[in-house]
Structures are given as C-alpha cells and as structure tokens.
Amino acid sequence: MEGVLKDKILLAHGSGGKLAHELIEKSFVKALANPFLAKLDDSAVFDFSGRLAFTTDSYVVSPIFFPGGDIGKLAVCGTVNDLAMSGARPLYLSLSFIIEEGLPQSELNQIVDSVQKAVQEAGVEIITGDTKVVHKGSADKLFINTAGVGIIAEGVNISGSNARVGDKVILSGTIGDHGIAVISQREGLSFSTQLESDCAPLGDLVAEMLAASPNIHCLRDPTRGGLATSLNELAKQSKVSIRIEEEKIPVREEVLAACEMLGFDPLYVANEGKLVAIVTSEDANKILRAMRKNRYGKEAAIIGEVKAEHPGRVVMKTCLGASRIVDMLVGDLLPRIC
C-alpha cells in the first residue's frame, strides 16, 4: 500500500486535513472506485426522470463482524432493500462513517472491502460520503449512516396500505438467521453447521417478482422485530387481518434450537436478507415460482392470507389447529429462564 497509513484510526483522520484526505483516497475512493467519487466534489450530481424512492438508515450493530457479514455489508444491503421494498430499482447510495478513535485500520479496510463487494453484487454505486472520527467511548467502534435513491418504474405501486382481503402472503425464506447469528457471539453458542447471517441485497429478487406479475401489493423486509412486527405493521396500515400458519413458516433447525435454548420466538428475530410480499391470490403461484429461481428466494413459501376479521391483527394457526394472536415485538428480545 502506498503512503504512510497508521495502523489505528486517529482523531486526526476525521479533521479534514492531510491525514483525512489520505484516508478518504486510499481507503474509500480507491476501493469504491466510480466516476462520482473520483470527482471528490462536495455533492454528487446526477440526472433522473420519473418517480424516485429515497431512504435513510443508520447501522450500529454490535459486534461489527458476525458470521456471514459485517456492518459494511449490512449497511449496503439494508439500504438497497429499503428501496427495493418500494418496488424501486436501487441506484445510488451515500455512505457516512462515524469511527471511534482507535479502530484498527485493518478492520476499517475489511469493512470497506465488504461494502465494495456488496455494492458490486447489488449493482449500485456509492456516490457521496463523509467521515468523522470521535473520541473513545463516543461510538461503539463504528457507526454507519446511509441514504439511498432508486427509480420506480411506471405502473409499479407498492405500499403497506395496499393489502386486500383474499391476497396471499409469501415469505422469501427461512426466518431468524441474522438475529441468531449475531446473538450467538454474545451468548457463547457455537454452530456445528454453518449458520450465518442471511444479509443479502434483494433488488434483483424484487425485479424478477415484478417481471413475473405487477400484482404485488405490499413488500416489507422483516428486520428488527422480525416477521411478526412486519406483518403487524402491514395489517394495521392496510386495516386488514393477516392469518398465517405456523407449520408453513420455514425456520432452520439451528435457529429453532437457539431460540429454544434462549427463550426466543423465531417470529421476532431479525432478518437481513428476507422479504414478505402480499400479492393477489391469482398470481401468487406465478410469483412464487419466479422467487424460487433466485438464489435468495429458493425456500420461498406461501405462509398465509389476508382476511377481514380482526382488522389490524395477525392471527396464527398453531400446530394444534388452534389460533393465537401474534403481536408486535415490545422492547428488546431478552434471553429468559422462564
């Protein structure tokens, strides 16, 4: 590597001076090479026509490295997915780093590398960014903030309030992988098989679903709060009830086992590479087939349908055939003894 790069990030790296420029050029611009960043202007300038989707997010996950990913990959995928959930084709991202002084340069490089790989897979570009360095204790190693824009094609109208009675609910794959992969580090659980975060960009999956049928009413990615929380949000926004079947929901055995041990319900555990779609019942199978052809939708399944009774509620049929309410997550998921 050219130049003198210290092995730890210092306050000086965020002050706008020579060290800061060196950091930006060597660590960021070089890795994320694109015409916008190369200009190093104060803002990125681009043309567009049509409807734009615009989103922002902050990433504070701890630990910053976890099985299957890191905070960098999470930041890109999370932003891309928020755009995709509006039916947009994700285009450009901004990327801001708030670095705690003392973060090893090697760790920052590893994260930027992850960002670059994720950006490449998602087919987006990081066109503007910012770096700040704060005192020890003021940030937990690294915080990342992003914003993203995407273009919504004509005729695409996806919103949480569009669900209609009779629609089917499709889940793109297994739930709970990300949350358990992250918490396993803390709780001293190790996996004899590879359980990793499912962190993935879903822009292509959504594009393929829309190509199969325009009759997609809602899309949501069940991140914090899990599937249960997302379904509750949709039920409330659309003023309908959503009825799901426990036995149809795909969950990996390791996730179930970890949940049993810690006292979690997989319905509330975070996902970072899954989506739930509410679609017309006529086109449900067609959309399902399209999803299963994509690497991130292989285990997609129809898990329920939209009903009129108990509007705003999510009801689940248990393995005994009885029904129970599935509420939103309240507060944090905490391991319990009881």
Binding site: L189, F191, S192, L195, L256, A258, M261
Partner: protein, 76 residues
Amino acid sequence: MCLAIPALIKSIEDKEAEAEIGGITRRISLWLTPEARVGDYVLVHTGYAINILDQQEAEETLTLLRQIAELAEEKG
C-alpha cells in the same frame, strides 16, 4: 418457569461438557449431574444439566400417545 431443553452430550471435561441440540453446541455444567456420560441426553436449564433424560420413558410415552391416536381414529 424453568426453560430446560434436551441436549446431547458430545464430550466431557471435568465438570463441564459440550452439549448439542439441533446443530448448535454450548458448554454446559455437570455440577448437578456428575453421573452423565457422553451420549446421554440431559435437560439443560441456564447452562446446567438438571437431569438425565430417560430415553426409554420418552419412547414409551410416544408409543402411548400413538395408541391413543389410533384409538381415537377407530372411534371416529
């Protein structure tokens, strides 16, 4: 109260063991079940094995439940 789940003992080192359930493993304590052996299933509560699971009794219970299910089918 008392979340305890059945886990398989894979290896033992002094008073601790590696226990596995559904593809995940955790270090557990055998302070309460010093007689546990590799290959036993134990009930794990807050990281401690609180009892050795009786596999034969488990099978017998399942057999009983199957018989009840068959009887119910006959009675229509």
